[in-house]
């Protein structure tokens, strides 16, 4: 039979959605057994499905749902009470219905599966009146068999079938479900359900996803055309033209936003399947797990949601199977027998962060090291020098698995590396932190959308290239004089000494076979990372960060490792998007370089530091660690005085010398006029005031705070809140401007 007509497709799609809701409601019912509201909801789902599939002549679907409907009817009339076996059987019903629907959509028919056992079970549960004790007592003879079956089964289906094998000996198998008295069926459907249902239907539409993609593309092109039009308005003064262009601009922006939102779905769509999965896995391996979901309303592009479903599922199964210990083991360790698995989703910057945390036994460093050595993934020498975080990272290597026995749930050794590559394929990243005995946290970072991404624009040989911000770690500028100190050659390859580690350098011009650059005053290095390859990319100049529309390259160009796409800049010119992983591959950058080239590892890497971000002048931004800022003050320039040639102000009973940070950092200083923005820095028991243009923000960022380099007074640059920001080294600055740190003695002025 042909399954391609719209009505059937709609029915299948809706049914799958309904079955998801069905699962959720059932799990809710499991913990809230007296909720009649929930029972009614579940009943209606099955009832509707049964009714509709009658139109389509899906006999199997109809008969299976019919039996379920009967049982549910008994539940809602109070004839039977909710119990564990009933929930399990109803979950089995949901699975059966899903199987049939999938079969219809893939094969065009209801499939060959025989649901006789399920039907029997549901009927049997329905026939037991009153409380489930009665039902259980009639099963008492094979009870031992049943409990054995439950503990050794590895899947719901096995469990059920073993149950039935036992149960069938006791009950005459009845294939005929008892018909529901017609009056009862129609009576029980209150009128208000109909209107409620219509209400729900009207606020949403089912739209073909291909149509949405097409609209998305068109809007992308509209955005580009709008950008070009805006360029023209610079040269034409015609008022009407400019006004119309502005209108077009506004409308386009809103349209773009709106269309992008149509593809955004709450991550809850994925997270909602996890209560069921956690329940199943926990039951199968005898664990008790409490699942906490947070941030379900956080939104992601639909295609990304599809891509992270499997990786997330694997992580969660892993956490229950291997992470969380058995209740007895947990009690012994002084933990509560029930483990907690929490999934938290939130948006930060241009990304969605999903944290999966368990309070299980965490990673055992020695075991992991041993396993990795056994599997030939790392040499014993190198393993001995790895940091804790790097050892955790070993589990992401292909061919790794610490499961002592491979269960059918997880631990086939195909795991974490596939998880990581799947997530990285959509431009995301996954990281792991763990404390032995306490638990582990997987952190997934995923871009909000694939089509429009923030990127850093760089130049090489007069051509612009874009580097996706998700690959960006930091920016470094090395002045010519210091190059010999900081850049080293090892076996013909160049490395940059960045805070104690040797960073492999890749010259973009060289990689792209472009001419060598003319001699330059300074070398610009963009530190990038993709898929564990971290390196410094040497470019001519670093431009700014922009939101770019990603366009694919044609077939002939797709295979070039170095590029992952192309974008159209505002002036209509094309800029190729660099594929960081591809470049690494092409340049032969080895993975996980820090362990390869062994230098002492710097544990302060990647700390979250609170920063005070400020404007140096109108254009330049800088930041200092907040703990170096004692107070933020506004100083009236009229209160300034001179002392020994320095500008000072009376402050809190003392004298506060002022340093114009704007000038020091090479920005344009507006001089001391009007009200000045000053932040006060303490040196021992003295203070210094730094004058800046304005304070931007206080934020917390993961920043590598290290030793000074290049320009005095700076500690490097980072991209903070989307803008290139200099990190300022206050102690060095103070020393430079002639004040001396001395906490025990008076501050000495140097002329």
């Amino acid at each position: 039979m042909s399954i391609q007509d719209d009505a059937t497709l709609e029915f299948l799609g809706e049914s799958l959605e309904n079955l998801e809701r069905y699962d959720q409601e059932l799990l809710f019912l499991e913990s809230n057994r007296t909720s009649n509201d929930t029972i009614n909801k579940i009943f209606r789902i099955v009832h509707t499905m049964k009714g509709t599939c009658g139109f389509f002549d899906f006999k199997k679907l109809e008969s299976v749902s019919h039996v379920g409907e009967n049982l549910l009817d008994s539940l809602r009339s109070g004839k039977i009470e909710v119990s564990e076996p009933i929930i399990s059987a109803l979950l089995g019903l949901g699975d059966a219905l899903r199987t049939i629907i999938v079969s219809i959509s893939e094969l065009g028919n209801e499939g060959d599966a025989d649901f006789g056992i399920l039907i029997t079970r549901l009927t049997q549960l329905n026939e037991a009146e009153g409380s489930t004790n009665e039902a259980e007592s009639s099963v008492s003879a094979p009870h031992d068999e049943v409990s054995q079956a439950t503990s050794s089964a590895t899947s719901e289906e096995d469990e059920l079938s073993k149950l039935f094998a036992a149960g069938q000996a006791e009950f005459a198998a009845s294939q005929e479900p008892s018909p529901v008295p017609p009056e009862l069926a129609t009576q029980q459907l209150p009128q208000q359900d109909e209107s409620k249902k219509t209400e729900i239907v009207e606020t949403a539409l089912r739209v073909d996803i291909n149509l949405l993609n097409k609209l998305m593309n068109l809007v992308g092109e509209l955005v580009l055309a709008r950008n070009q039009l805006l360029q023209f308005t610079k040269y034409h003064d015609d008022n009407e033209f400019v006004a119309t262009s502005q209108a077009l601009n506004l409308i386009t922006s809103e349209l773009q936003e709106g269309i992008m939102r149509t593809r955004m779905q709450p991550v809850g769509n994925v997270l909602n399947r996890f209560p069921r999965i956690v329940r199943d896995v926990a039951m199968a391996c005898g664990k008790q797990v409490n699942l906490v979901l947070q941030g379900k309303e956080t939104e992601l592009d639909k295609s990304i949601i599809e891509a992270i479903k499997d990786p997330l599922t694997h992580i969660i199964r892993n956490a229950v199977d291997h992470g969380i210990e058995a209740p007895a083991e947990r009690s012994q360790a002084g933990k509560s027998p029930e483990g907690t698995l929490s999934i938290r989703a939130y948006q930060e910057g241009g990304q969605v962060i999903i944290e999966v945390t368990d309070d299980g036994k965490g990673l055992h460093l020695e075991k992991i090291k041993q396993k990795a050595i056994e599997r030939g993934l790392v040499s014993p020498d190198r393993a001995a020098k790895l940091s804790e975080h790097e050892i955790h990272g070993l589990i992401f290597l292909p061919g790794f698995s610490t499961a002592e026995k491979v269960t059918s749930i997880s631990g086939r050794g195909v795991g974490m590396d596939v998880v990581r590559s799947n997530i990285e394929r959509v431009g995301g990243s996954v990281d792991l932190t763990s404390t032995f005995g306490k638990g582990s946290t997987f952190t997934l970072k995923i871009p909000l959308t694939l089509a429009i991404i923030p990127a850093l624009i760089v130049t090489a040989d007069d051509r612009r290239y874009a580097i996706p911000q998700v690959n960006l770690i930091e920016l470094v500028r090395v002045e010519q004089e210091r190059i010999s100190q900081l850049i080293e050659e090892v076996h013909g390859a160049s490395f940059y000494r960045l805070r104690g580690k040797l960073l492999p350098l890749v010259d973009l011009r060289q990689q792209l076979d472009l001419a060598a650059p003319p001699p330059q005053r300074s070398t610009n290095i963009v530190v990038v990372q993709g898929d564990e390859h971290r390196f410094g990319l040497i470019v001519d100049t670093i431009n700014d960060t922009e939101e770019i529309v990603v366009k694919p390259l044609g077939k002939l160009l797709k295979s070039i490792d170095a590029f992952s796409g192309v974008t159209i800049m505002g002036d209509g010119k094309l800029a190729l998007i660099l594929d960081v992983v591809g470049l690494a591959r092409q340049a032969g950058v080895r993975k996980g370089t820090p362990p390869e080239v062994v230098v002492n590892s710097d544990h302060s890497e990647g700390e979250k530091v609170q920063l005070l971000v400020f404007n140096v002048d109108g254009e330049q931004r800088a930041a200092v660690p907040l703990d170096q800022v004692h107070r933020l003050e506004k100083v009236d320039s009229k209160a300034l005085e001179k002392a020994e040639g320095k500008t000072v102000v009376q402050y809190r009973g003392g004298i506060l010398p002022l340093i114009d940070l704007r000038e020091v950092l090479g920005g344009r200083s507006a001089g001391y006029q009007g009200v000045l923005r000053v932040f006060v820095h303490n040196i021992g028991d003295r203070s210094v005031g730094f004058v800046v243009d304005s304070i931007v923000d206080i934020c917390e960022e993961v920043v590598n705070v290290g030793t000074a380099f290049g320009t005095p007074g700076r500690r490097g640059s980072a991209v903070i809140q989307g803008a290139v920001t200099d990190l300022v080294d206050l102690p060095a600055l103070v020393a430079q401007t002639g004040l001396e740190y001395d906490s025990s003695m008076e501050v000495l002025w140097k002329s």
Binding site: R463, L553, K555, L557, I560, A562, I568, G572, K573
Partner: protein
Amino acid sequence: MEELNNSSSQNEAPAVRCAEQYVTFAVGKLTFGVDIGAVREILRSQPLTEVPLAPTIVRGIINLRGQVLTAIDMRKLLSLPEFAPDARPTNIIVKADDEFISLLVDSIGDVIQVDPQTFEDVPSTLPHHVGALLQGVIKREGKLLLAFNPSACLSCEGA
């Protein structure tokens, strides 16, 4: 210039049918025709962005009203002498498999009607690297019109 290549056959195109109308263009001394149904538009010389590391036959990429198209240098494809540095080749935007590409040619000719009777298989006398790009040939007024298959560019190794 004749390559003896036993591994691939020249006439692989399964449904080699003569099109009703062909847009003709010249590359060097050769005259080609491409099915008008596959032609999207014809443009004068366009600003081109070179793509480092691209196959030789790819001259670069162009921005056509928001779409990025690969521009194929037909002279390189046919192993003919290169375009002059100041040449301004014409762009023929054609459909090739799932994408549109731009063919950089010397000049555009007329759109012609073709009698299916005059459509023939690619003769073995043509050099292999040329024949692999064609669907067939059309004998016309004593000259040979080469029926070009745009999709063939995409499978070309381009060296």
